[in-house]
Subunit: 148 residues, 2 copies
């Protein structure tokens, strides 16, 4: 992927600007791929993340602020996100008996089953996205990401 070619400019782009643009182009590519993978399951990437967090709870319910904390991308509207998952039958919701301000969210069996299928699809996508990288290069990339 050549940056100058993709954005169709003849000018030379300063290294830092080029890096940021390059980053965004890669981001688009990854997003497109992942959105496509999740599309058949009718969940967004955010919803997928929430399902993964809930599974990680191993039965223990999570409330909305916990979910929000652990989400890769924070977004102010966990209520509505969880509501979408509720409509699909992927999660259950109940007010916390000890503190009625909180709501307890748990993943349902139906949600777990769907998530298993999503995992397979997602892993294929990850393998494909990163197919040109050696393990060494992946580590190098992770190290560089640490500098951000």
């Amino acid at each position: 992927m050549n940056v100058e070619q993709v954005i169709k400019t003849k000018r030379e782009i300063p290294l830092k600007s080029r890096t940021v643009i390059h980053f965004m182009l890669v981001n688009n590519k990854i997003n497109e791929r992942i959105t496509a993978v999740l599309k058949p399951f009718e969940v967004s990437l955010q919803q997928f993340n929430v399902l993964r967090i809930l599974r990680g709870q191993e039965g223990k319910p999570a409330n909305l602020s916990t979910l929000n904390e652990r989400m890769v991308t924070k977004m102010s509207n966990t209520t509505r996100l969880v509501y979408k998952l509720l409509l699909k039958g992927y999660v259950d919701r109940a007010t916390c008996p000890s503190n009625r301000r909180k709501v307890e969210i748990t993943i349902t069996e139906h949600g777990k089953n769907a998530l298993k299928k999503m995992d397979v699809a997602m892993q294929n996508a990850e393998d494909d996205i990163l197919k040109n990288f050696s393990d060494e290069e992946l580590k190098e990339l992770n190290n560089l990401f640490n500098k951000f």
Copy 2:
């Protein structure tokens, strides 16, 4: 930035998944920063990109499909995006005389002036985002990005 710490998991994440998640975390950070920079100008990143493309045209008008081609992130709705810029007085719009299907978009003086200020702010943000990178590391990062 430690991935496991940010998403608060004790599990070890497979290298490929970790890379994708790490990428997204960096993406959030960059996006937040850039959104904040553009906020005072009341333009989105996309709108900023369109303004830059128009300036690159050096007076020559661009039509919507050209803009769409050159945008870093493609989005199906260039009409409305340009309309927002029109409302702010940053661009002019006219139907192409030789082919009335097309519309010709040009950046206004007001748009150019605003863009100059945005450029300064954006460059500061880029410098800050990449402050921990040496030139060598930036080149390395760009090389790795080529593998996506």
